[in-house]
Amino acid sequence: MKRKQVLFEMPYFFWLAFFVIAPILLIAYQSFFNIRGQFTLGNYATYFTSATYLRMTLNSVWYAFLITLFTLLISYPTAYFLHYTKHKQLWLLLIILPTWINLLLKAYAFIGIFSQDGSVNQFLTFIGIGPQQILFTDASFLFVATYIQIPFMILPIFNAIEDLQPSYINASRDLGANNWQTFTRIIFPMTMSGVKAGVQAVFIPSLSLFMLTRLIGGNRVITLGTAIEEHFLVTMNWGMGSTIGVVLIIAMFIIMSLTGEHKKKGRKHND
């Protein structure tokens, strides 16, 4: 019986070992070597003393924060109203559909839409505003990044809302709460797990977006992903690239622990 269980666990163990732990260890290991292959802590020293990298980190966090915020602001109401629509599975499918399309294709589609001769500018010209520079702006970058991330936020939130027993909402109404109070005090806190999962699914990848920063942001938006790409593909300084990778992995763990489940602290009543 015991041996059988071990046998069943083996594939998962190997999977974890080879595809999760080993790559992380390799990245960590690589980060301790300089460009000449000598062991060094210099990469970390460089990272934490370089205004460029720190500012880039700040940039990354800031843009990832904005993307996550906008994604959440759009996704939560969408998921909420989706829950009450008639053909919600169909609508959900339509929302998920864009994720089936390659990211690069979507980016090029947006280039077509946002370019000087694109449909948006044609519309602006039509209504008399005249063509505007849309591509290569922060706004367009945030717009496209948000668009791409939305399904990953909607899905967990939608599932959390679906899982919410209607009796909680009834109970809240029954106890005197109006719709808004019910939402803020019951529905939102109780679907927090979905929000957290969504934030994790969006924030962490957003930290290291690099294709969009170039295609839509025209490299006017620089994130850590840009630096990693450069170190691996241009300067061939894998050590430095790995160092940034390690920083991102640590950032990921921080986000996970911040958004993870906490044991609720006891509260004191003066009784």
């Binding site: 460029t52 370019s115 000087q116 290569f136 170039r214 300067t235 061939m236």
Partner: protein, 357 residues
Amino acid sequence: MKKLVAAITTILVFCGLLAFTSDRLAKSQVKSQSNTLTLYNWGDYIDPALLKKFQKETGYHVSVETFDSNEAMYTKIKQGGTSYDLAVPSDYMIQKMKAAHLLVPLDKSKLHGMNNISPQFRNLEFDRHNQYSVPYFWGTLGIIYNDKTVKASQVQHWKQLWNPRFKDSIMLVDSARDVMGFALIRDGDSVNTKNIKQLNAAKKRLDSLTPNVKAIVADEIKMYMIENEAPIAVDWSGEASEMLSQNSHLHYVVPSEGSNLWFDNLVIPKTAKHYKAIYAFLNFMLKPENAAQNAEYVGYATPNEQAKALLPASVRNDKQFYPDAETMKHLQIYNNLSPELIGTYNELYLEFKMYRN
């Protein structure tokens, strides 16, 4: 559950069919392994008709694999496990591969037609006496402009890019060496400078160019320029020739004060196996008629003088892609820099990209 099984079965059958067909196709093309030459090349960088012709003439089949950056190619060859017979690195990369002992010297006795190559493209610093490389194509870095909004006289020199009237108008190719390079040339410095002061000055220069920079992009530059997204771009001549062929309002300028001159040369990596085929191919490509056909297909400038003579006059006299001798004198070739110096170039370039005023 039934549906799932059906879906999985469909996918598996589909994959099986594809694998079978591709296997059959591959077999029908390749008679035997020893008859095959593997060329590791940039994407769409050789006329496929030439490969057919080569096979007809010599019986060797050419299988082409592609890369999209010198560094990616370098890593792959260095890591081993490949069996490329020929590769097409750029100048500084040839130097680097040489230093890393990744290249096999050419056996000149087996090579015919090197004299077809223009003397000015032979015996260059990155490969003295062409010990390792046969010139394939060459080109420059320059300015592409759209004559609808920009006059030719406004973009003859690098420093004109800093003109305030070009606010938010310029697209730069996303390459540290090239962008740092034109900033260095603007100040009269070498594109290979090791002087950190000059580099810092160049970076400062670039910072002040920021208001004029619309975007820093890669291959997409072509598409953007063709679609009039920006009036000015800094890009390589090969890319420029493609843009020009699709938008008659575009023109290409190599500033006379200097620019980068680059080469893509054929080399034999140490992974090579089929030497007979390799020399047959090198000699085949050195033949003027073949080099000319390839140049017409690819659109880049050929270093083969005899081949150039075979090209239409409109092409070979085009100052945009075959600059005059005076300009050629001022062009600079990238040297392979130390990894630290490359790091510095890239660091400064990254800082420039992050610079916001």
